[in-house]
Every structure is written in structure tokens, then in C-alpha cells.
């Protein structure tokens, strides 16, 4: 019974800490929709396979939030017709490439300058790698059904085939420009849509917090850190810890500080890189963006990428 009470308290802690960041993300997504009429700037984003994720990753500096808050913003970007690379580059890099997270990493590790460079650089590379990989999938296999429909509505009909449009005449010429004209939605519409989006995401966040609290309570953390001394074992252990603990990227550096002396440098960096991209709390939230197969690809590719980066750092630092 003690364990259940402890899991219940951890659940409440995770949830109450994540709600403000989720709300911030929804508010920013809503404001972006209201302030910047759809299509006015999205169409100017680069569509180059490499430049698009770079642009998305750099947009993280505009959102000082953790990994919960950037999901609604990334969804809004993709729904508005932004290049896939930009949306996913933002999704994966923004939790690290933002002023608050960089400042907290510096505050936690002022005596380890290599980490202050390696963390944003690693997150940047990882975001580009994942974006390039996911962009190989057809949109219909990649994006969640509702998001896909919303995205197609915002794209010019010229870009879609007849089945994707769901209407039209075979052989009939399309108008020269059929893109929807930018229109500013009313604040009422924005509130309506944002409230739906918040409740949808909150339900998934609650599910993620339940899973994270349960796993944390019944999986002794000392088991993970016991193998902290072995180069590869320590990286794998800290990657698993990052997935289980599910704390926000804005504070994970302070948590890492607690066991930094017990693990290899590569493992420390792996913890700081993987947590913002893949964790149990995020598992539900990602379902509003991607199909299960794409989520699985993201989790596997991110883990492999982080493992490689961690190994390389261990070779360099040890």
C-alpha cells in the first residue's frame, strides 16, 4: 500500500509540473494561429530536406518550454502545412535548443564546458537525423489521421491527387491558385480550438504520467546506476533512466548533476539528449502527431543515435 501511495504522489508531481508547460505550448500555438494568418509565412519556410529541419530546430529559441509544450506547437506547424522537416526538426530540437534549457545546463555544469557545447550540438544533429529519417515515410504512413486531414486542407489542391482531395473531376483543370487565402481566425475560434487541443493533450499527458509514476516506483533506480561504470552499459542504463524518469528538459540537468560523478561522460550526455526526445510521459502526446509505426521508428532511431553519440564521447573523453 505504501508503494501505491508513493506512486500516486509521483503521478501528481509529474502532472502538476507538466501542466503549465503544456498550457504554455497550447497558448503559443493558439497565438501563432491568431497573430500570423495561415500560409502567410509557412509558405516561405525552406523545403530543402536539410534546410527544413535546421530551420525547425532553430525555431526552438522562440519557445522557452520543455518537451510537453512543444508538441502542440509542432502540431500547429504541421497542420498549417509547414514542411515535414521543419515540424519535426522543431519537435525534436526545441526541448533542448531553447534559452531556459541551455541556461539550466550551464548552471548545473559550469565546470564542464564540453557538455555546454555537446548537448545543443547533439540535440541539433539528432533532430536533423530523425527529421530526415521520418521524411522518407509517405505522409499518410507518418502523420496521425486527424493531423493529416487538417494538413491537407491547408495545402494547395495542386499538391494533392484526386483521392487525397476527396473531390474534383477527372480531367478538369485546376484553378491556377487554389491555396486558401490567409484569414485571421477570431479569438473565439482560437479559444475553442485551443481548449479542445489542451484537453486532448492533457488526457494523453495523464496517461503518460500514470505509466511513468508506476514504472518509477517499481523499478529500483539503483539497478540502473549499478552498471554506471561500464562505458556502453552506463550509456544504456542512463538512456533507460531518461525514458523512465520523464522529467522536463528544463530541469533534467540538475537531476543529472546528482549522479554525474558515478557515470561516464557519454552516459551523462546520453541522458541529457534522449530524455527530451523520448520518454514515457511523451509516449501518449506523440500520438497526436504520428502513427504508431512512426513513433516506434522515432524511439528506435533516437536511441541508436544517442547511443552512438554517447560512445563517441566516451572514446573522446575517457
Amino acid at each position: 500500500m505504501e508503494r501505491v501511495a508513493t506512486a500516486w504522489a509521483i503521478f501528481q508531481g509529474l502532472l502538476l509540473e507538466a501542466i503549465p508547460f503544456l498550457l504554455l505550448g497550447v497558448v503559443i500555438a493558439g497565438l501563432a494561429r491568431w497573430l500570423v494568418p495561415q500560409g502567410a509565412w509557412i509558405s516561405r519556410l525552406p523545403r530543402h530536406p536539410v534546410l527544413a529541419p535546421i530551420t525547425g530546430a532553430l525555431m526552438g529559441f522562440a519557445l522557452p518550454a520543455c518537451e510537453c509544450g512543444n508538441v502542440p506547437v509542432a502540431r500547429r506547424l504541421l497542420a498549417s502545412g509547414a514542411p515535414l522537416g521543419t515540424g519535426f526538426g522543431f519537435l525534436f530540437a526545441a526541448p533542448v535548443l531553447n534559452p531556459i534549457v541551455l541556461a539550466s545546463t550551464w548552471a548545473a555544469f559550469p565546470d564542464q564546458p564540453w557538455l555546454l557545447i555537446a548537448r545543443p550540438l547533439g540535440a541539433f544533429l539528432l533532430a536533423i537525423l530523425l527529421s530526415l529519417l521520418l521524411a522518407q515515410l509517405p505522409e499518410a504512413q507518418l502523420l496521425e489521421a486527424a493531423l493529416l486531414s487538417e494538413r491537407r486542407l491547408s495545402q494547395p489542391l495542386r499538391k494533392l491527387d484526386l483521392l487525397q482531395r476527396g473531390s474534383g473531376l477527372i480531367g478538369a483543370p485546376l484553378p491556377a491558385s487554389t491555396a486558401p487565402r490567409p484569414q485571421r481566425p477570431s479569438l473565439r475560434d482560437v479559444l475553442d480550438q485551443s481548449s479542445r487541443e489542451f484537453l486532448d493533450l492533457l488526457a494523453l499527458l495523464v496517461l503518460g504520467c500514470v505509466i511513468a509514476a508506476t514504472v518509477q516506483t517499481w523499478l529500483p533506480r539503483s539497478w540502473l546506476l549499478a552498471i554506471g561504470g561500464a562505458p556502453t552499459g552506463s550509456i544504456l542504463a542512463l538512456m533507460l533512466l531518461a525514458v523512465v524518469v520523464s522529467v522536463c528538459s528544463s530541469v533534467d540537468a540538475f537531476l543529472a548533476l546528482g549522479f554525474a560523478a558515478q557515470v561516464t561522460p557519454g552516459a551523462l550526455l546520453a541522458f541529457l539528449l534522449l530524455g527530451p526526445v523520448v520518454d514515457l510521459k511523451l509516449a501518449g502526446l506523440f500520438t497526436v502527431l504520428m502513427r504508431p509505426r512512426a513513433i516506434a521508428i522515432t524511439a528506435v532511431a533516437a536511441s541508436l543515435g544517442v547511443l552512438l553519440i554517447g560512445q563517441w564521447v566516451n572514446l573522446w573523453q575517457l
Binding site: 505504501e2 508503494r3 501511495a5 508513493t6 500516486w8 504522489a9 509521483i10 501528481q12 508531481g13 509529474l14 502532472l15 502538476l16 509540473e17 501542466i19 503549465p20 498550457l23 504554455l24 497558448v27 548545473a108 473565439r188 479559444l191 475553442d192 485551443s194 481548449s195 479542445r196 489542451f198 484537453l199 486532448d200 492533457l202 488526457a203 494523453l204 495523464v206 496517461l207 500514470v210 511513468a212 509514476a213 518509477q216 516506483t217 529500483p220 533506480r221 539503483s222 546506476l225 524518469v245 520523464s246 522529467v247 522536463c248 530541469v251 533534467d252 540538475f254 537531476l255 548533476l257 546528482g258 549522479f259 560523478a261 558515478q262
Partner: protein, 217 residues
């Protein structure tokens, strides 16, 4: 209208968590105002929606209802974690001590500051005989006598890290796990697990209620 009511429920849940003081048990203080502000925003948004849609019936999605049911449970069932159980599940791993721990007179050091000091200065002989005035909860150990401990957090209870001190418990003392105690005594050196270890020898042990802010930064 249901969306508005759900937002009001969540906003109230968040604000109640702040007002009732339970956040002190769950989150680091630096986040409290952020959480409170988000509750106020949710409450305001919910009220706006209720006023606007008071005559409109709209479908409510079942995930919203399930999560709202959990929100109600959060309101009804306050958190009551077992600190001892939580500490047993975590390795000790405090960051390096601040200079303050060295500068403070021994009797003004908190339990956490003592642990940080001893970690950075592993020779326990240097603190032998120092007066100790600390408070913490009883941390049950799988082997050996219990420790007196505190939990430190950087974010929320999910990242709580224990800091424990060895105590030479009097023979008639029966410390129960999770019990909060105020201890006065002095530091001495005794072998523990085959190594000389700083151990608190209590002269006064007093049961105290759990502090309002039991988590330390």
C-alpha cells in the same frame, strides 16, 4: 459547455493544489507560482467557455472524461508518499556542496548540508565532536540500522534524491520508518560497513510532525 466545465475542474484542481499546500510535498518551490498561474488561466478560460456556450450541448470525448475522473481523484486523495520507500528506491547523489556548508557553524548545518560536507570531505575525523542539530525522517535500510534522512528535489518528487546520515540509536529507541525526528547530539566516528564513518550520537530525540516543506533544493 462541457469543455468549459472540464477546464474549470482542471483549473480548480491546480489552484487547490497550490492553496492547500500540497505542492510543497510534490514540487520545488520555484515552480509553485508557475503552476498557480496556469491554474488561473485554465479557470478563466473555462469560465469564458461556459458563459459563451451555456445553451449549447456538445459531445464530450471519453478520454477527456477519464482524465477528468483522475483529476477529481487528485482533488479527493491528497499525496502521502512514503519517504523511506522513495529513498530506498533511489541512489544517494547530491551535487557538490556550496561553500556555505563549510562556513556555517556545525550546529547551524542542516542534514543535507552535513551530507554534502561529508561527501566532499571524506575524512570523518575532521568533524569528530562537532555539535549536531538536525531534523529528518527515518530511512529504513535493508541492512543495518536506519538513517536519518531528507529528500532533495530539482524539479518534482519524480527526481527526489535522498541524503542520509548514520545515527547511533540509543538501545531503547525504536525509530519507525517515515517518522519525523528532531535530533540534537554530536558527531562521532564509528566503523560502519568496515569503514570509519561519521555517525550522529543523539542526546535528544524528539518526534516532530512532517514539516510543511519537507523537500529541500
Amino acid at each position: 459547455m462541457s469543455r468549459g466545465l472540464l477546464l474549470i475542474l482542471w483549473g480548480w484542481m491546480v489552484i487547490w493544489s497550490v492553496l492547500s499546500g500540497r505542492l510543497d510535498l510534490l514540487l520545488r518551490g520555484v515552480f509553485h507560482s508557475l503552476v498557480g498561474a496556469s491554474g488561473a488561466v485554465l479557470l478563466a478560460a473555462g469560465l469564458l467557455l461556459v458563459i459563451r456556450h451555456r445553451r449549447r450541448r456538445e459531445a464530450t470525448r471519453w478520454p477527456w472524461l477519464i482524465s477528468a475522473a483522475l483529476g477529481c481523484l487528485v482533488l479527493l486523495i491528497p499525496p502521502n508518499p512514503s519517504f523511506s520507500d522513495l529513498a530506498s528506491n533511489r541512489p544517494q547523489g547530491l551535487p557538490e556542496p556550496t561553500e556555505l556548508a563549510f562556513v556555517l557553524p556545525p550546529e547551524q548545518r542542516s542534514l543535507t548540508e552535513w551530507v554534502r560536507l561529508l561527501r566532499s570531505q571524506p575524512d570523518p575525523q575532521l568533524v569528530d565532536g562537532n555539535p549536531v542539530i538536525i531534523s529528518g525522517f527515518v530511512w529504513r535500510q535493508p541492512e543495518g540500522p536506519p538513517l536519518i534522512a531528507r529528500l532533495t528535489v530539482r524539479c518534482c518528487l519524480a527526481d527526489a534524491t535522498p541524503a542520509g546520515l548514520a545515527v547511533a540509536w540509543p538501545e531503547d529507541a525504536e525509530p519507525k520508518a517515515n517518522q519525523w525526528l528532531a535530533i540534537q547530539g554530536r558527531m562521532t566516528v564509528a566503523p560502519r560497513h568496515g569503514e570509519p564513518t561519521a555517525v550522529v550520537v543523539p542526546t535528544v530525540i524528539k518526534p516532530i510532525p512532517r514539516p510543511e516543506r519537507p523537500l529541500e533544493p
